[in-house]
């Protein structure tokens, strides 16, 4: 299947190779595949404002490098007394957009349908669209930063992925910054700025996994609404953040009632080795609550009246290591939910681990791979088989950038991702969306993607 696909796109690959031949910084890599989730990302508006190429802030956009991380920590300010909007030409408008037309193939085994209750393989293939992200980020004034990311899904649903204001360098110190609104959690491994786009590869199992039958709705990679106090050293090699967040996974309108979640992260980087960046290690933790009882009216729950909050935790450690142009990102995490949030009388707990590797051959060519595993250490319902819900996810990809300059960007993206889940539907939503016939059935879901990912 893969082979047939590749033979079909070979002529296109040749065209792309020759188009990308000239400069010394890149060799082309052909065929890419396309995207799934909404994503915040590279901001060409910043490139236009400061005259830097995308590669200055990003290892391979949208992933940030150390310089870009410092820029972001500083409130999207370079710190040269020229950040306030008054220093820009009136015509500069801090807006950028990103979208990804694509061709992709999805195939999922053991999908239960009305006609085939034991499960069949469902396959889809064709040209498709991703959503559009509108990235409005910048400074309102010196040391006052704003962000607004409206989104438009491919099916026309609108959303608001981020909307925040941030007061930077309080007391003229980089150690105190306060952000209020809806924003991405300060994850060292950012899901919003990672380089994966396919249905099965475009999210992290470690961040979104919930046990079968769980009533929880938390995703570590989902943007949350709250307030964040953060700080960093002058070169951002040391960073911390502490946040208080409302409890409904970024849904506005206070549907969860009165409860709060809390999160902390801390990381430290070391200028060791001669790789493309420093070596960084970090820890993170999340303490969340979800209401389990709602008042009702006419039998239907009244939104916002939740009570009897039960807690859940996520914590882990991660690192970003550089060996020359090879970046290695390991992550280990442990999660457990209160029994009341889970499918049964016990507290479900699980462990996840992932290793992601990027080889940034040049600023215009990156090859990547990722392997994740999720293992239930305790099922919420003692009747569940020990392995139900366990997942393995694997992905490989290439991103080639035909040009790298300071106004906009484009990546030709190819990706193959494969997940194996036991007794549960794949998290991507591929297939029928229904759990397989038995709790021990192994479900394979594969995505193959060629995409043109551009932002301007």
């Amino acid at each position: 299947m893969v082979k047939r696909f590749l033979t079909a796109v070979a002529p296109l690959a040749m065209l792309l190779c020759t188009a990308m031949a000239p400069t010394s910084t890149g060799t082309a890599a052909p065929t890419y595949a396309a995207a799934y989730a909404t994503y915040a990302s590279a901001i060409p508006a910043f490139a236009r404002k400061y005259g830097l190429r995308c590669s200055a802030c990003h290892t391979a956009w949208p992933e940030l490098n150390a310089f870009g991380q410092r820029f972001k920590d500083n409130g999207y300010q370079l710190g040269n007394d020229r950040d306030s909007p008054i220093w820009q030409n009136n015509a500069y408008w801090p807006i950028a957009m990103r979208t990804t037309p694509q061709i992709h193939l999805e195939s999922t085994t053991n999908q239960v349908t009305d006609a085939v209750l034991t499960g069949k393989t469902i396959t889809q293939a064709g040209f498709d669209l991703s959503g559009v992200d509108f990235l409005l980020l910048g400074t309102l004034y010196k040391d006052i930063t704003f962000g607004l990311v409206p989104t438009l899904d491919a099916d026309g649903t609108t959303g608001l992925e981020a909307a925040f204001v941030r007061f930077d360098n309080l007391g003229r110190s980089p150690w105190a910054n306060v952000k209020v609104g809806k924003f991405e959690l300060d994850n060292l491994l950012s899901e919003k700025r990672f380089t994966w786009l396919s249905a099965n590869g475009g999210f992290l199992y470690a961040y979104h996994y919930l046990p079968v039958g769980s009533a929880n709705n938390f995703g570590f990679g989902d943007n949350q609404i709250g307030a964040e106090l953060s700080g960093h050293s002058l070169n951002s090699y040391t960073r911390y953040s502490v946040s208080l967040l409302t409890t409904d996974d970024g849904e506005p309108g206070l549907p969860g009632g009165k409860s709060l979640d809390a999160m902390f992260t801390a990381s430290r980087a070391f200028a060791m080795g001669s790789g493309l960046g420093p070596q960084r290690i970090g820890v993170f933790g999340y303490l969340g609550h979800r209401p389990t009882v709602f008042d009702t009216s006419g039998g239907a729950p009244i939104p916002g009246t939740g009570s009897a909050n039960k807690s859940f935790v996520r914590f882990g450690a991660t690192a970003q290591l550089w060996v020359g142009n090879l970046e290695l990102i390991p992550l280990v995490a442990h999660a457990s939910d209160a029994a009341e949030l889970g499918p049964g009388g016990d507290k479900p707990a699980w462990n996840s681990a992932l290793l992601e590797a990027h080889y940034v051959a040049t600023p215009r060519l990156m090859v990547q791979g990722r392997y994740e595993l999720v293992r239930m250490s305790k099922q919420g319902d003692p009747a569940f088989p020990k392995t139900q819900g366990n997942a393995d996810a694997f992905a490989v990809g290439v991103r080639a950038y035909p040009f790298m300059f300071s106004r906009d960007g484009m990546a030709i993206h190819g990706e193959f991702a494969m997940t194996k889940t036991i007794g549960t539907a794949p998290l991507s939503g591929d297939g029928s969306g229904v759990d397989p016939a038995s709790p021990t059935t192994v479900v394979w879901s594969r995505s193959l993607l060629l995409a043109f990912d551009f932002a301007f």
């Binding site: 190429r53 370079l78 040269n80 007394d81 070169n235 001669s274 420093p278 600023p363 300071s406």
Partner: protein, 284 residues
């Protein structure tokens, strides 16, 4: 082989080699840079330069990057091997430490960011690569850094003497009588590429191009900012006089410095004794 033929082939081989050496460009010297215990290599710096620097400074280091036409001040042209921020006398090359510091510090009020987030090894590799853009790095050595003696304590006498020097050295002709960058010659200044350039305005209180400390200020006027209208006063000022001038210049900034505290305390009661700075001469 007959002796004559062997000789001919040797001559022609040598001749060919010499001819080729003349025709092909001289092999790039494996340029290195050294700061402290760090050693940088140009070959490692080249991909970093393309990633971080070439957008403004140009792939050939000639300040013709795609953004150069949109920014002011223009980026540094490395092919000219003339640099503003040095510890070495005017007309001489900067040391590797000078270049390394400039990359780390950036240049305030310009588009050159502080690259402090890059690892020291990456920055020293960049310095080594920057030195490959001009042939002068192969033929000349960096100058000897000037000696900056220990700073004497700031006193009102030092500040007042510095004020006299500001008058006598005619700094006010560009920087203005109160250091606001509005002297009679300020608006016609051009740099070595004939682009307009403004003198530093002390009233903004922003960081100097070449640092923030008194030692940096000392170094600025005792080495000059090559490529700009700012000359070196090393031949005209003794170190003691230079420190007096530094102390006075600090009083022109709206920052809370020791010098400005001394100055304001004195000026509260003695301001009437001061002759104005400017064309009338004077400047007590």
């Amino acid at each position: 082989m007959k002796p004559q033929t062997r000789w001919m082939s040797l001559v022609s081989a040598c001749g060919a080699a010499l001819l080729l050496a003349g025709v092909t460009p001289a092999p790039a010297v494996a340029q290195e840079a050294h700061v402290g215990t760090l050693t940088g290599h140009a070959a490692a710096g080249k991909p970093l330069y393309t990633r971080y620097c070439a957008g403004c400074h140009g792939d050939d280091g000639d300040a013709q990057g795609e953004n150069a036409m949109w920014i002011d001040p223009k980026p540094r042209d490395f092919t000219m091997a003339t640099f503003k921020c040095r510890s070495t006398p005017s007309g001489s090359l900067p040391t590797d430490q000078d270049l390394y510091n400039s990359v780390e510090r950036g240049f305030v009020t310009t588009n050159m960011p502080p690259w402090v987030a890059l690892t020291p090894q990456n920055r020293i590799n960049l310095v080594a690569y920057i030195k490959t853009f001009s042939p002068r790095w192969r033929t000349a050595k960096p100058g000897t850094p000037i000696t900056i003696p220990a700073e004497p304590t700031a006193t009102i006498q030092s500040i007042l003497h510095g004020r006299q020097l500001y008058q006598r050295m005619e700094c006010w002709k560009c920087h203005g009588p109160a250091g606001h960058g509005d002297g009679p010659s300020a608006h016609e200044l051009t740099d070595n590429k004939d682009d307009p350039i403004r003198p530093y305005n002390f009233e903004t209180g922003s960081r100097f191009m070449c640092g923030t400390a008194n030692q940096d200020l000392y170094r600025i006027f005792m080495t000059g900012l090559d490529g700009s209208p700012m000359p070196s006063f090393a031949d005209q000022l003794s170190p003691a006089e230079a420190w007096d001038l530094v102390h006075f210049l600090r009083t022109l900034q709206p920052l809370k410095t020791r010098e400005s505290a001394i100055w304001h305390e004195w000026a509260a009661t003695h301001a009437g004794e001061l002759k104005p700075i400017g064309p009338e001469g004077g400047g007590q």
